[in-house]
Structure formats: C-alpha cells, structure tokens
Amino acid sequence: MTSAGFATRSAGSAKARVAVFVAQTLAIAEMEAHKLVRDPTELISRAVQPVLWLLVFGQVFAHTRAIPTGTLSYLAFMTPGVLAQGVSFTAIFYGIAVIWERDLGIVHKLLASPAARSSLVLGKALAASIRALPQVVIIYGLAALLGVRFTLRLDALLGVAGFVLLGSATFATLSLLVACVVKTRERFMGIGQILTMPLFFASNAIYPLAMMPAWLRAVARVNPLTYLVDGLRVTMIRGSELSQFGLGVDAVVMAFLLGLLVLVTARLYPGLAR
C-alpha cells in the first residue's frame, strides 16, 4: 500500500501537466460552488447595491441630464458601469475567505498538497466569478424594466459573461493578494474599504472619461475597472461605437492583469501557512 505512492511520479508531458492543473483548479472552484448553492443569502444581499444604484442614482441623474452621454440614455450608459461595480466590489472582499481558512487550518492542508499554488489561487478566483453571475441576471432584468435596450445576440451575451468572469476573477485575485500581505481580518477590511471607492469614482462607470479633468482621466486609464466597464458597455448595449479602447484591448488588458496577479499571488500564497 505504501509503495503505491512512489509509482505515481509527478512528472509527465506538458499536456498531462496542464490537465492536472485544470482538474485541480476546477476541484477548488467546485467546492466553493457547493457552498454557494447551499447558502445563497450572500448572492441575494450582493444584488441590493446595484439595484439601488440603478433605481435611485440612475433615475435621478437621468432626469437632471447633467452627464452628457451622446445619443445614449444615461441609464443605458450607466447600466454596464453598475454591473462592473457590483462584480468588482463583490470580488474585492473575497480575500477575507482565505483569512478565515488560514485561521482554521484549511490553507495549511491545501498548501501541503501537491496542487500547484497557482491552481489554488485561480480556483478561488473562479469561485468568486460564479458569485457574480446572478448579478448579471438581476441587472439585466431591472434595467430592461427601466427601458434600457440590450444587445441580445448570443455572441454579445457570451462576451458579457466572459468579461464578468474575467473582471470578477481579476479583482478576486487582487483581493487574495491583499489577504496574503495583510493576513488579518481587521487590516484586510480597512484596505478593502480604501480600494473600492477610488476604483469606482476614478473610472468610466457612471460618467464618461471625456468629462474628467486630465489628472483623473490619467488615473482612470490605468484603472482596470475602466477596461471592464468599456468591454461590458460594448457587449451589453446596442451600438459598438461606444468603446473608448476597442474590445480587443479591453480583453487583453484584463487577461494580462489576471495572469500577472495569479503569478504574484501564487508566490505569496505559501506565506499564509507560515
């Protein structure tokens, strides 16, 4: 029995290694999905904020016509911004989960397993993405009732799902990175609060870049949320002339950032067990 372990050496072809990586990543994400299905209260409470933004802020600003959005109604302009905000704010507090797991002993056990550190990180990030999907449904439904007209082609909807998953995974990984550095709940919550508002207001979520003073526009251009909003605006709302950067740039920026964050976080992750 004991010797069986020695027969299964870890090496193997690159293809086999990728298969193992994917299987381990999905195993982590799958367990988080089980938890969400069992206790969906979080999914529901996360939907409250976007609803308030659309119903209160959106309605008021649509009436005042204070923000120039061209031929597009203000509500249609801000709906992708509200979705991006909901997705990123949900994700940015996700790191608290690994601080809990560190206080228990779950992180220690996972880190002593042969799973690649990057698959532990990416698995968690994917799990955070699953949490974001119900927000899509709620925001589409509510905004449609308020008169926003969406692009309902299959490729557009897949594009929206893609950007939501990518954005959510990116901000969740950023959150895991913060958790790896600060390691305690109190410090983590403080940093989460500091991050969210500047991310939101220094982006194109609720007003166009053209309205911003030059310094703020410069900040918004390096803010990943801006690219997420831009990508969602093109895929969600009719008329692709809306994009500032182009869909390809949006997707590449987000994917590159996710890859970079996963690599850095995977290096810091073992520090959680020390």
């Binding site: 029995m1 004991t2 010797s3 069986a4 372990g5 020695f6 027969a7 299964t8 050496r9 870890s10 193992v20 299987a23 381990q24 195993a27 982590i28 367990m31 089980h34 938890k35 069992r38 206790d39 206080d103 228990l104 002993g105 779950i106 220690h108 056990k109 996972l110 880190l111 002593a112 397993s113 042969p114 799973a115 073992p270 067990a273 020390r274």
Partner: protein
C-alpha cells in the same frame, strides 16, 4: 519506479529561526519505514515548526531534510505528493459534507477517477463515518472531524503521514478512537507516521520511538520502554523528561500559541 528508501525521514542539522528566536536548533533525526515516530515536548519546543518544515510549509533557515527520498527544499513538490498531513488546527471544511471534503482531497492528490469512489467509501468505512458522510462537517463532533481529517490525509496512500497534535482538545473516548484508527492503519498498511504531542500517555500508547524535544533541540531519543527502563523500574515518560531536560513538561508557549490552542479546542468542542 523509485526505490522506496528505508529511511523515510532524515534531517541534517535542521534549523529554523524567527528573528532572534531559535525555534528549531539543528535537529538530526532519522525515521524508519513503517514506524510511528513521536516528537514529544512542551509547547514552544519546536515540534510544530519541525513538522511545518518537513511538510514544506516552512523553509528551513539552514540544514535540510529528505522525506520519502526527496529534498524538502529542492524537491518540495515531490515531497508534497508523497505525504499526508493533518494540521493541529481544524482543516476539514465545515461548510462541505464529509464526502465532499474527501472528494476535494482525492482530486488534489490526483487519485484517479476510477479509484476515487472506492477509496472514499473505504476511507469512510475505515474511519467509521459512513452514516455521517453526507452531513455537513459543521454538524460533526470533534472526534468525527479528526477522523475525517485522517481519512483525507490517507486517501492517496502516502508514504508518510504527518500528524500535528492529533488528539488535542478531544475527550478521552474520542481520543481513544483516534489512537485505535492510527494503530490499525499502521497494522494494515505499514504507513510511516510522524506525530507531535505533548501528551505522555499518547506518546506511550502510539509511538515506536520518541524524540524528546526541548527548546528546539533533541533532548533524548529511543523507544518509550527503553527510555523508561533506563531510568529505573516503574519510571514514567514524565520521569524521563525531567531527567533529560531538568524539569517537567509544563505547558509554555507564546500568547499566539495559547490563543491558537484554545481556538482549536473551542471549535472541536
């Protein structure tokens, strides 16, 4: 196929410091295949730090070790593939069922899909958890959680099992059940085990050989019976400890150690 080494664990001047604190000060031990080896000592003696280094969670400051034939620093991934680990803290996920916890372990340790169901069923039966398999772990008793964690750690048939204070916080009945399972596992599979404990009775009941640790160094080493016999008839392990380090095994440790210990006990309670 790699030759199974006779020495499953071998450390060379293994040392770890945290700032000015020397947690482990040059440890040399060798664990034979198939034995239950105990690291015995008070809190703060360096037991948990040693186990963290051997499970690759913590890099040594100097010195080194080989586990299952692999270097813990240069071949850390290979080491991880061949070990099972039950941390002192609570490591089963309370929001998942027992079976889901086992499924996650099986997938992370690359137990093939063909073997998975049978191995999980076998582990549940072995640990007497069949009836509770599909209940959430947060409804389990402390003893059941420990047995589930053991089941998770042995699922992939590791060459060596690391157990950090395996019965801490358990009542005597639950503790006895864990001992029975560990002894049965040794009998059934000849799995090598390295465990830490500050419990003399546990060390006596389980371990083939003991390393008494004190302030990061090895105070004495031997089979429990031999250690006691060397002191005199009717000697206990407590006597051995007093003789080799000059005082009893009173529980020390830092504020952080104490807080973690109490949290573990509360959660298992």
């Amino acid at each position: 196929m790699i030759r199974v080494p006779e020495l499953i664990i071998e450390t060379r001047h293994l040392k770890r410091t945290f700032g000015s604190l020397v947690a482990v000060a040059g440890l040399d031990i060798a664990v034979q295949r198939g034995e239950i080896f105990g690291l015995l000592g008070p809190n703060g003696a360096g037991k948990s730090t040693t186990i963290k280094m051997l499970t690759t969670l913590l890099p040594p400051t100097s010195g080194g070790a080989r586990v299952a034939g692999f270097d813990i620093v240069r071949q850390a991934a290979d080491v991880r593939h061949h070990i099972g680990y039950v941390p002192q803290l609570l490591s089963a996920d309370g929001a998942l069922t027992g079976r889901e916890n086992l499924t996650l372990s099986a997938k992370l340790y690359r137990v093939s899909a063909a073997d998975r169901t049978a191995r999980i069923a076998d582990a549940l039966r072995f640990m007497d958890l069949e009836e509770a398999a599909d209940h959430l772990v947060r409804t389990y008793s402390g003893g059941m959680i420990r047995r589930l964690e053991l089941a998770q750690a042995m699922l992939h048939e590791p060459a060596v099992l690391f157990l950090d204070e395996p019965t801490i916080g358990l009542d005597p009945v639950a503790r006895r059940a864990v001992w029975d399972r560990l002894l049965e596992l040794k009998h059934r599979s000849a799995m090598t085990m390295l465990l830490t404990t500050h419990d003399m009775e546990e060390a006596d009941a389980l371990c083939d050989r003991l390393a008494l640790m004190h302030q990061g160094v090895l105070a004495t080493l031997g089979a429990p019976a031999d250690l006691k016999a060397a002191i005199g008839p009717d000697a206990t392990l407590e006597d051995v400890f007093v003789r080799s380090v000059g005082r009893g095994i009173e529980k020390g440790g830092t504020y952080r150690d104490v807080r973690r210990l109490r949290n573990t006990i509360r959660r298992l309670g």
